[in-house]
């Protein structure tokens, strides 16, 4: 349809990368996959070539090349999701009305700013360094914040969920929720206490775009997931 080309810098397990993969897949946008291993070589995100792409040394980054050969690099998953929604509005991932959009973004931000940042890899590593926290302690820290956040999120979803997280259509709320649920399972969490989260995550995970974006389906996933 368009001559725009996308390159996604991603790590298969990075939940923020996973969000952008879902949106690209959902909108039917083909992209080249540039793996950046967050653990190998002391963290490939700190290498000079990736710092030139993203001075924050974080994933994901999306390079957008137009037909004339111009290229821009965008970082921060939520900024990328909003950009894709504005430039490739179909199929939509935000409602048309301002209030509906605010409700979706509120759910997005619960995950994006109140849960994910406190349990991500660089925080767990810092806790290990500063407090000699072992892997079990790191997992307990991560679970604490996900359980706390999911408690509030469950209450918010009870007001707005339909077939999906916010009403009956897939939205950015599902796009960020599914990767957080993936992290929750990695922390060994029992999701039975969060019936709405479990239900809407399962509904979204069954969709082709979400399946294609799953960590285990990525080129940099190990042969044994």
């Amino acid at each position: 349809m368009s001559a725009t080309r996308y390159t996604l810098y991603s790590y298969f397990r990075s939940s923020a990368s996973y969000r952008v993969r879902i949106a690209l897949q959902y909108k039917g946008l083909a992209y080249d996959y540039a793996p950046v291993h967050l653990l190998a070589d002391g963290g490939q995100q700190y290498a000079a070539d990736y710092r030139a792409v993203n001075p924050m040394s974080e994933l994901p980054s999306l390079v957008v090349r137009d037909a004339a050969g111009g290229a821009v690099t965008l970082a921060q998953s939520v900024a990328i999701l909003e950009y894709l929604e504005e430039t490739c509005p179909e199929p939509p991932l935000l409602p048309r009305d301002a209030l509906g959009r605010a409700r979706v973004r509120q759910l997005v931000e619960v995950v994006n700013s109140s849960i994910q940042p406190i349990q991500n890899l660089k925080v767990l590593k810092k806790l290990g360094d500063d407090f000699a926290l072992d892997r079990a302690g790191q997992v307990a820290w991560g679970r604490y914040w996900v359980e706390r956040g999911f408690g509030g999120l469950e209450g918010l979803l009870a007001r707005v969920a339909g077939e999906h997280a916010c009403g009956d259509a897939v939205t950015l709320a599902d796009v960020v929720l599914v990767p957080q649920v993936y992290n929750a399972r990695r922390f060994g969490m029992d999701l039975a206490s969060f019936p709405t989260i479990s239900r809407v995550a399962a509904a979204a995970e069954a969709l082709p775009a979400f399946r294609a974006a799953h960590p285990d389906a990525q080129p940099d996933a190990p042969a044994e997931g």
Copy 2:
């Protein structure tokens, strides 16, 4: 201009509340101020009456009442900022073009998801509880994440800053940067290593809307700042 009425649940020092105060002031929107003290009474955000407003027990929340008496409650500062921008677009806090908007949102998210959540009050408190971290240790933790984030942000700003954080107009990037700089000062950080951050923060802080939104100017600020 409109019969819409706003009530902001806020704490004077909450940097996420501070963001929304700036946007309301910048757009000339009058609002009622509902203080929620994050430390008094074990944290008023955990009281049943505030949990009914916001199940996440976080600040800010914005209640929007229309002329017909309908009311909606929105939480999460970035979702609120986007809602205000969509419903009260003048004066704008986002550029018109998708790429410009993405650049602003990228800067917003560096603060919103990569810095602020890891250094906020509930994380510092949890570190105190789990690792007997004293106040000096908590400040050192906060400084570490702000300094690390500002290092990357300085590199991003060098590409896009003009008179303000993203070009010559005030944008949401300034709206979230100024409260983070306020936090940095509270952590005793020397901002001399971040000349672009310092320069654009000073330019924004001098504007009337930013001054009116400053923590020391709020009704719940103690008489001696």
